[in-house]
């Protein structure tokens, strides 16, 4: 495995008023890795994603992507540079068909003349042939998550961020999704960063895991290291005790 960093985040902080949603986080993701980002509800995972993809501007810290400083750069430029993502609360283009949705993503790197080749490729890769002409507004959650994945893949990212792509899926759907992600990582060498509550998916997929709690990075390591880390257990048990 190469250890060239694709994403370097240093001292990243994002506040909402008094609340520090992401607190002084420093981490690196290497080319070709699959890393996981976990943490209890409200830990700041989604905010972390929003801050590195340009939806929010960080209050402090830097984000370096492929050697380029992208702190404060707008999302569409970050996407052009090769980073894309999916959303925890699905954000589909409700008025568009699946095919058109994927096509909007594919325009990121393709012109009208060859865009459909990309669309066909991604649609078949994600197994969306049967619903390609359906409107996104009419789809169920499992299909929507897959359409979002396809839309993000169509932009041809080098780094793909997935925010709870497995939430609400059945075991069979989850297995399919994991297979797609593994293939994407192996065959197209896309680096993946997955935020996930479904432990089965994180443990089965990721080589390294980061743990956020109350905005802070409290641990980092292999799945075994993480599952035996006392601070991580405490963060999760603490959360359960509060409920």
């Amino acid at each position: 495995m190469s250890s060239k960093p694709i994403l370097q985040v240093s001292n990243l902080t994002k506040r909402f008023g008094n609340l520090v949603a992401v607190n002084n986080v420093t981490l690196q993701i290497h080319e070709g890795e699959i890393v996981g980002l976990i943490g209890p509800n409200g830990a700041g995972k989604t905010t972390f994603f929003n801050t590195i993809t340009g939806l929010y501007t960080p209050d402090e810290g830097r984000v370096i992507f492929k050697g380029e400083d992208i702190t404060g750069v707008p999302p569409h430029k970050i996407c052009k540079l090769g980073m894309s993502r999916t959303f925890q609360v699905t954000k589909a283009f409700t008025e568009m068909t699946v095919e058109e949705t994927v096509r909007v993503g594919a325009y990121n790197r393709h012109g009208e003349d060859d865009v459909m080749e990309k669309v066909d490729e991604v649609i078949s890769f994600c197994g969306l042939e049967e619903i390609r002409h359906q409107k996104c507004g009419d789809l169920g959650l499992a299909s929507l998550r897959r359409v979002e994945l396809a839309r993000a893949m169509a932009t041809e990212p080098d780094l793909l961020l997935l925010d709870e792509a497995g939430a609400g899926l059945t075991a069979a759907e989850l297995a399919e999704l994991m297979e797609i992600l593994r293939q994407l990582n192996k065959e197209q060498s896309v680096t993946l960063c997955v935020v996930e509550h479904v432990m089965q998916m994180v443990m089965g997929l990721c080589e390294r895991i980061f743990v956020l709690d109350a905005g802070e990075l409290i641990a980092e390591g292999t799945p075994e290291e993480i599952s035996n880390n006392p601070r991580v257990i405490e963060a999760y048990l603490g959360e359960r005790a509060i409920r």
Binding site: P74, P75, H76, K77, K91, A92, F93, M96, V104, R151
Partner: protein, 286 residues
């Protein structure tokens, strides 16, 4: 009975032009959620441009959009970058203040340039009328309606079949998601604002074939288009056309059967009724 049908016909034809004007407004509102109070004044400005070009170079009003369409597109894009772009993340009141300011500005400028008296062009090529089954149809209105429908169809194709059109639709559906798959929102917004404004150029040229223009006209077209949009709701282009026709027919009917001064009254009445009874409009998506 004859008057009823006759005025329904006239109104329906006029309604197609209203629908075209409203399509511009709906693009701007639907995509960037900006309530553009100056939209009617873009129509007025287009009519003055048509008048200016027509009287300077003797160009017939119907052909003026060849020049005013790109001109209004540029005006729209410049207006977007100069005043709208900076207010997008601010309070709603700021946006309203800014577009109301633009409206006042446009009115003042036209008043300064062309004075307050109404202006009209000499008779257009498309004058006269045709007679069908005893009814009288003004050629200028018929052609205006046909051209409006064609323009609406053209925009519809542009939105559904081209890359910029898809970008506009994606951005109006979910801005964050669109940005993160590479859609540049400022560029898309500027395009929508430019196109929305440019559509008033077609309407303005058509209107000048049978109507005069004065600097206060903007209000009338502004309110008319808000009424048509409220009636149609967001998201359906055929719905926009139908609503335009309904409003046009209602307006013309109330003028014929009641009092010419009642035209705006009926339009307001429809506006209020729709907002009250069916806020998402007849064809709106939510």
């Amino acid at each position: 009975m004859d008057t009823v049908v006759q005025s329904l016909l006239n109104g329906a034809l006029m309604g197609c032009v209203y629908a075209l004007i409203t399509l511009g407004l709906s693009l701007i509102f639907g995509v960037m959620n900006v309530v553009n109070f100056a939209h009617g004044d873009f129509v007025m400005l287009s009519m003055y441009f048509a008048f200016f070009i027509g009287s300077m170079w003797g160009v017939d009003a119907v052909f003026t959009p060849a020049i005013t369409f790109p001109l209004l597109f540029i005006v729209g894009v410049v207006a977007y970058y100069a005043i709208i772009d900076g207010t997008l993340r601010q309070k709603y009141v700021t946006q309203i203040a800014v577009t109301v300011g633009l409206m006042t500005f446009l009115r003042a400028i036209t008043q300064l340039m062309w004075k307050a008296q109404p202006r009209a062009l000499p008779y257009s090529l498309i004058q006269g009328s045709i007679h069908i089954a005893g009814y009288n149809i003004m050629l200028s209105r018929l052609i205006s309606a046909v051209v409006s429908i064609l323009a609406i169809g053209g925009v519809s194709l542009f939105l559904s079949k081209t890359w910029p059109g898809r970008a506009i639709r994606a951005a109006s559906d979910d801005l964050d998601a669109a940005s993160l798959v590479g859609v540049n929102y400022r560029w898309t917004y500027a395009l929508a604002f430019g196109l929305g404004s440019a559509l008033t150029a077609i309407a303005g040229g058509l209107l000048m074939t049978f109507q005069q223009v004065d600097p206060t006209m903007g209000v009338r077209f502004g309110l008319l288009s808000w009424c048509v949009l409220a009636l149609a709701g967001l998201g359906s282009i055929p719905g926009l056309l139908i609503s335009g026709i309904i409003v046009g027919a209602a307006e013309s009917l109330s003028m014929a059967l009641w009092d010419p001064r009642a035209r705006s009254l009926i339009v307001y009445l429809i506006f209020i009724l729709v907002l009250w009874v069916r806020p998402r409009g007849l064809f709106g998506r939510k």
